[in-house]
């Protein structure tokens, strides 16, 4: 058995967190499982790097000095808690100091120029992972493991030069990662690789964008043809609903890649869809596990959906912070190209649309957008369209989107009826409905005041608190 284990920032809050990472990995190593480890930056470090970049662009030297001091302290403390072997400790401390010093120099140069190019931005962001990975590696060495750490680029991940959101060149990456990392795996050594960062063919540092560390894990698993990817997070796998909204929410035992992608789209912060791309084809299983409850329930994401389930619906996802815009006018009826016009304008302004619905009479088109952009969007649409065929543009911001996701809905009649009856029985009015023709989800809009009640009503209707786990083990 060969597994890529990825530890996210929530696993790496401090030295104790890093100790936990070593303990968890040890359990698997004792079972003769071969492991490659992917490490994120320590908790909130990446955010603070983004912040310090914008301060550096303002030329705030004091902020940089202060930040560097704090950054050094956090990592010094973490390594002191985890490592007691004097030699390893010294080496790790000097690695940290060298990295921090380099970072300071770069931040100073950004502050002199008052500009961080995408390229230098990625380089600065890469320090979060380099620091944490150096410490995790020292922690393993401290426990007498033969561990070595690499940046993603050193490990062989080669990307295009789309800084900030780079894409791997998968064939070259596969070849290089195999050459570099496989020999270590065969020798039962532990390769520890920075998540999130990679490099171009010319050795310039890149980052893989949001969800980048999960992406690193799946890229490495695909390149090495491993059996599974374990993503260690701070929840028991993927839940049927947000436990803060629905206390009865429980862990979903198995979902398919496509269900996971749908859920991620609707805001379940479990895995970024792109991170599933590398494993999709080779059918490498992805497990979402809880670092604080390693023997607890987890979720497996795999190719074949769980067909033995009586669960038509697997998850209910709610998106807050959205708003609905409706464009209407009787002249829009039968007017060709009006939808293209509306969405073309939104596209030109790089506005992300979450949901669209058009009445068959064509007298109005509604769409859901991020609430933060609402004023801007209304302004853009008004100045471009109002007064021609469009007579009215109105918006509502006191709404939320609820999405019901599950591959079991496909081809089963009456799911929609069940969904809307459950909502109606609660006396909740549905404002807008959309179903993708993939039939993997039904999403609809309700008033924000009904958010919790809607989720709970559906959770109850589809008996989602009672997932039959024994079936999942077949």
């Amino acid at each position: 058995m060969k597994i890529v284990m990825k530890f996210g920032g929530t696993s790496l809050t401090d030295g104790e967190g890093i100790k936990r990472v070593v303990e968890i990995t040890k359990t698997s190593l004792l079972k003769e499982i071969k492991i490659v480890i992917i490490v994120s930056a320590m908790a909130s470090i990446t955010d603070s790097l983004f912040e310090v970049i914008s301060r550096a662009e303002l030329g705030d030297l004091e902020y940089i000095k202060d930040f560097i001091g704090k950054l050094a302290t956090i990592h010094h403390n973490a390594v002191k808690v985890t490592v007691n072997d004097k030699e390893i400790l010294e080496k790790a401390m000097s690695e940290i100091n060298a990295l921090v010093k380099e970072l300071e120099r770069i931040l100073f140069s950004v502050s002199y120029l008052r500009e961080a190019t995408p390229r230098s931005r990625d380089y600065i962001l890469s320090f979060g992972e380099k620091l944490s990975t150096a410490i995790v590696c020292a922690a393993f060495q401290n426990q007498k493991f033969e561990a070595y750490w690499f940046t993603g680029g050193e490990a062989g991940i080669i990307t295009d030069d789309n800084f900030g959101d780079a894409k791997p060149l998968m064939n070259i990456t596969t070849q290089q990662v195999k050459e570099k990392i496989n020999p270590l795996v065969e020798e039962a050594q532990i390769p520890i690789i920075t998540g999130y960062i990679a490099r171009t063919q010319d050795n310039v540092t890149t980052t893989l964008g949001r969800g980048g560390s999960d992406y690193s894990a799946t890229i490495i698993a695909r390149a090495l043809d491993f059996d599974e990817v374990w993503l260690w997070k701070d929840t028991d796998g993927i839940m049927t609903a947000d436990p803060k909204i629905e206390p009865m929410a429980t862990t979903i035992p198995i979902i398919s890649y496509s269900e996971a992608i749908e859920m991620a789209y609707f805001g379940a912060k479990v895995i970024h869809p792109k991170a599933l791309e590398p494993v999709f084809e080779q059918q490498i299983k992805v497990r979402i596990k809880n670092i604080f409850n390693p023997n607890g329930l987890d979720t497996i994401i795999e190719k074949h959906p769980w067909t033995n389930t009586d669960k038509i619906v697997k998850s209910i996802v709610m998106i807050r912070d959205v708003a609905m815009v409706t464009v209407s006018g009787t002249e829009m009826i039968g007017m060709p190209g009006i939808a293209a016009k509306v969405f073309g304008i939104l596209g030109d302004n790089k506005i992300n649309i979450l949901m669209i619905s058009q009445s068959s009479s064509e007298a109005n088109i509604s769409f859901i957008v991020p609430r933060g952009d609402l004023n801007n969007i209304v302004n853009v649409v008004e100045s471009a369209l109002l007064g021609s065929v469009v007579k009215n543009i109105y918006s509502e911001s006191d709404i939320c989107v609820v999405a019901v996701v599950g591959v079991g809905m496909k081809g089963i009649p009456g799911v929609a009826a069940k969904v809307f009856k459950a909502v109606a029985d609660e006396g909740i009015n549905v404002r807008m409905i959309a179903q993708g023709s993939s039939e993997l989800n039904i999403s609809f809009v309700v008033g924000e005041e009904n958010d919790v009640r809607t989720v709970r009503a559906l959770h109850k209707e589809f008996q989602m608190d009672k997932f039959n786990r024994s079936v999942s083990l077949i």
């Binding site: 295009d160 998968m170 064939n171 070259i172």
Partner: protein, 337 residues
């Protein structure tokens, strides 16, 4: 177009000759002006910012290495440095095949593509080991990787299959793909001589390399089958997936025994849905792929069109140069330099 040639043996020299001899014709017909600005061989490099003269190249090579030229020679200079530092449109990589790690061709080709230079190669090692990787690298850098001469020598096997056979399904491919062994087997059958004698003849005639082991043990044919499978049929075939036996066990008495029945023994490579095999096979002399001497023959068994066979010169510098020239003209058509 500025051209760098890496590896300057029979093929490289024959290519140079053609490029200079047909210079006018190539320019008038295809707008191709080939400016060879650097050549690298084992002894080093010869480099000029403008085009090198034919006489300069030939004179230098005649004294052992191109690096011996008093004006432009750079003894000991490595190919990688030339590829990285010299401005050029096309790198023609002609170093010998190595199926263990593809080197030095692998690094040369990667470096050329990364430096946004088009690549033409006849070196099978890198293509067998990393075809999809190299194609990805070429695409990412917006340049072309062409390798017509790697399979079939002058016979346009790859382009024919990839372009001319579109729409139909290739059920199987069968052929004689190694000129050296075919020359040896032909001579054994014609003159009733032993394999060893025929090999010596082939070497004297310049058809066999100093180290002919890849030809004799079937590996050269296997490499060509791997490239065909991966490029034409979009498979992911590695050398280890191919069942290979060469001609070393073929004896004169084997051949004599069947010649009266109008049959002979040929080293045949074949690809079908189930397996890829290289082995000496008994063929009827009427079989369209049963060709003699250094000729190559490839038969495509098509679902609708039936069997289509290409026959032509497979080995030798001039023949292989013609394939490289085709690649060069195609690259010229895509670029505007």
């Amino acid at each position: 177009m500025k051209i760098i040639i890496i590896g300057y043996g029979t093929v490289g020299q024959a290519l140079t000759k053609i490029l200079y001899e047909k210079e006018k014709q190539l320019f008038n017909k295809y707008g191709l002006r080939s400016n060879i600005v650097a050549v690298v061989d084992r002894g080093g490099a010869i480099i000029s910012k403008t085009r090198l003269k034919y006489s300069t190249l030939m004179k230098a090579k005649a004294s052992g290495t191109v690096a011996s030229d008093p004006n432009f020679g750079k003894p000991g200079l490595k190919a990688l440095q030339v590829i990285e530092e010299e401005a050029a449109d096309v790198v023609i990589e002609l170093t010998p095949t190595n199926i263990i790690d593809g080197e030095p061709g692998m690094s040369n080709i990667k470096s050329a593509l990364t430096n946004k230079k088009n690549v033409i190669t006849t070196n099978k090692g890198p293509l067998v080991l990393a075809l999809i990787t190299l194609i990805e690298l070429a695409r990412h850098n917006g340049v072309h990787l062409r390798f017509s001469g790697a399979v079939g020598g002058g016979l346009p096997v790859l382009n024919f299959a990839k372009k001319s056979l579109i729409g139909d399904r290739i059920i199987s491919i069968k052929g004689i793909l190694n000129g050296t062994t075919n020359y040896i087997l032909t001579r054994m059958a014609e003159a009733h001589i032993s394999l060893e004698t025929a090999l010596k003849e082939a070497q004297l005639a310049g058809y066999a390399e100093a180290d002919p082991s890849y030809d004799l043990n079937g590996v050269d044919t296997a490499c060509k089958l791997a490239i065909m499978s991966n490029w034409i049929l979009d498979k992911n075939v590695k050398l280890k997936d191919i069942n290979v036996s060469g001609i070393l066990d073929v004896t004169l008495s084997n051949i004599k025994k069947i010649e009266k029945k109008g049959q002979t023994i040929k080293l045949v490579g074949s690809i079908d849905d189930e397996k890829i095999v290289v082995k000496p096979q008994t063929l009827s002399k009427n079989n369209p792929i049963c060709v003699d001497g250094v000729l190559n023959a490839v038969a495509f068994n098509m679902e609708s069109a039936g069997e289509i066979t290409l026959v032509g010169g497979g080995a030798g510098g001039v023949v292989t140069s013609s394939a490289i020239l085709r690649d060069l003209i195609e690259i010229r058509r895509y670029t505007n330099s």
